[in-house]
Symmetry: C2
Subunit: 417 residues, 2 copies
């Protein structure tokens, strides 16, 4: 099966799928079991061998962030050479002790890999508000640094928490100037048992880019992928995306070139499919919805979020129920909270579900029994599409979301402390 | 058992509980079965006999509202004499046909009760985006108008949807100028099967008030009760509060008098307990949490809402898990979204659960095993209290919320269309 499974992602023509655990030339990775999780791999190291490596990063927008995010934000984010990751404990809300642990992991990796500490990003995911065992983490970093190889298989495993399986891909991208490789490993924003969601994505390419170009591509593609998904509307303390470009392919991607455009298309498709994989693997999730909202530029985003995060919409998606009343209700709530937009107070909505018009000008269209049966049949697939038009113009956005199931509640209501 | 069950509501000393289905002097009510619901009472009429009756009302802030809300907003909201209510179909998103039906109910009631159409409020709750059978509604109004009596029992039943039972109370309030009665009937914001939540509350008193005074008391008390609760964060298209004062007691409540203060205290306690009853009866709900947030005036409300609506916090409440990491996460998400407040970006939070400090200055306090066991025991009751301090000052708010259970998902995921 192709990595590009979703109908909402087009595989670019100039992209060929390689072994998903492969890495671009010049990168090495490892994942080891350090005892932070009860079992399984839990410490990972990724390194780019070239001193010319450039990098870009994006982090959670939460005001409460883990120590690894604080330490990473203070690193040299345009010239990172390595990323140290761990799973099982997110190192959040542990005060100075947590910061010291994150800095120790950074320093240990730097020394073992022969780079500066500020060239090492740090990422951790797992339970929060508990002490991360520093000794185990540092021992794991040392073991992983000694086990580096040209494959991301163990790294992709070592970042997982309650993901049902690893999320990784490697593409060969044919640019006008020559072929390059582009790979990524991610972990899900599925709800984490016993605590909550974190998203990681590590991206590697052997293309040579200027840091500004890589930052631009990373920013745009993250906005179109991981910024567009929700499992339960809960923002993690620890979301981290690291993107490293080592240049070993010898193919230079000049700013505003056709090469940049093609590489951007590949990165966009890669991250969008990764993001959809994360949604589809949300805790308890069985189906993925997409809501597209068009209309007032200031209103489309809150309306789309309100729909995608509504437990009523999400339970209806779970039950394969084309319940358009719930879409109207969620949109009405978001619109009612807006002042000063043409859309505020405007109930004149149009709604299509799976391409069928169900609400026009704010009123149900009056489906026949046959049409209703057809609509019900249309929403039984793994992906369901909702298109909503609100008053005003100039805006269009989309949000991908998972359904809400009993399993989600079970996973998150279990006694954990 | 006293009506004032919650520890978060104090029963005022000058209040005595009467038969909960009683009405103040000068009010009559009825509830009948009109076939809008598959079975049970579904059409109600409430009328105040005095031509001097004054009234106040509050409605949903959604931009998508039912036809009854549109018609009621256009009524004489300071001198309503009657309210017509129905359950089973909310008459939402049905275009001109729905508006015509709501106006027909208003006109029919007015004629039968001998008041002006604009003195009749209209309220409907139930499925949305479906045609409300007009003939059944009008026949029900006629039957109810012929069955009016001095008791709110059938009215309180006729507004229910998936509520587990009626919500009504009648109090004798001893004012300095003499005794008055104050009664209310409510239906829940519990999730409605097959569709979503609506809140109704009808309030009656035989005190004599100026319309401005009644409006002021209604506004303040609604803000401290129904505006402070959430089941699943979903705002209805149809929420309606109607408050009628008929004056039959002969006790006049002058503006800014001790009488007004005492009546306000009684109304406040009545509506807060009603609101807590609505939360406790939320679909699938088993427990109620309260989050109090203190700090920056612009930040306390979004932070409290983020905590109260977080599915992670709600599943933890369901599981009797004192999971303070989830409170920090929700607060961090809300604070991160704020610009220009002293609290934005501030992770220096203090958190108490059931009076026990668990986070100080953003870091866990390091509970001993014994302290943790005590905390776990403390969160097993029907009500759990969270107190959160964020940076800044000048603000304090509270939100009451229900837990999130598998039953909620089951109730809302069933096939309904």
């Amino acid at each position: 099966m192709s990595f590009f499974r979703s109908r909402w992602v087009d595989r670019p023509e100039h992209v060929r799928e390689l072994e998903p655990t492969a890495l671009p030339a010049g990168f090495r990775a490892a994942g080891v079991a350090a005892g932070i999780k009860p079992d399984g791999l839990d410490v990972g190291v990724l390194v780019s061998d070239s001193p010319e490596t450039v990098s870009a990063a994006r982090f959670t927008s939460s005001a409460v962030v883990g120590a690894p995010v604080i330490v990473s934000r203070g690193a040299a984010l345009e010239r990172l050479r390595a990323v140290v990751s761990s799973s099982g404990n997110a190192n959040v809300a542990d005060g100075q002790r947590g910061l010291d642990t994150a800095r120790a992991a950074q320093a240990t990796a730097a020394e073992l890999l022969g780079v500066e500490p500020e060239q090492v990003g740090v990422a951790a995911t797992g339970v929060i508000a508990r002490e991360l065992p520093r000794d185990r983490l540092l021992a794991g970093v040392a073991t992983a640094a000694a086990a580096l190889g040209p494959d991301a298989s163990d790294l992709a495993d070592a970042i997982l928490t309650t993901d049902s399986g690893p999320k990784r891909a490697c593409l060969e991208v044919t640019l006008p100037s020559g072929p390059v490789r582009l790979a990524a490993q991610a972990k899900g924003a599925g709800m984490m048992s016993p605590l909550f969601a974190t998203l990681f994505c590590f991206v590697e390419t052997d293309a040579a880019l200027q840091p500004e170009t890589l930052d631009l591509l990373t920013g745009v593609c993250v906005k179109r992928s991981f910024d567009r998904i929700t499992v339960d509307g809960q923002l993690s303390t620890s979301d981290s995306v690291f993107c490293l470009a080592g240049g070993a392919s010898g193919v230079a991607v000049a700013p505003e070139s056709e090469d940049e455009l093609r590489l951007g298309e590949a990165l966009d498709a890669l991250l969008r499919q990764m993001a959809l994989d994360v949604v589809a693997d949300g805790e308890g999730a069985g189906r993925v919805g997409r809501v597209v909202v068009r209309g007032d530029a200031g209103a489309v985003e809150p309306v789309a979020r309100a729909v995608a995060n509504s437990p009523l919409v999400k339970t209806a998606l779970h039950g394969a129920d084309p319940n358009f009343g719930r879409i109207l209700q969620a949109a009405g709530q978001a619109l009612g909270a807006l002042d000063g937009t043409v859309a505020a107070g405007g109930a004149y909505l149009d709604l299509d579900i799976e391409g069928r018009r169900v609400v026009s000008g704010g009123a149900q269209v009056g489906l026949t029994e046959a049409e209703l049966a057809e609509l019900v049949e249309a929403v039984t697939g793994p992906e369901v599409d909702y298109e909503l038009t609100i008053p005003g113009q100039g805006g269009e956005t989309e949000v991908f979301f998972s359904d809400l199931s009993r399993d989600y509640v079970t996973l998150n209501a279990e006694y954990t402390t």
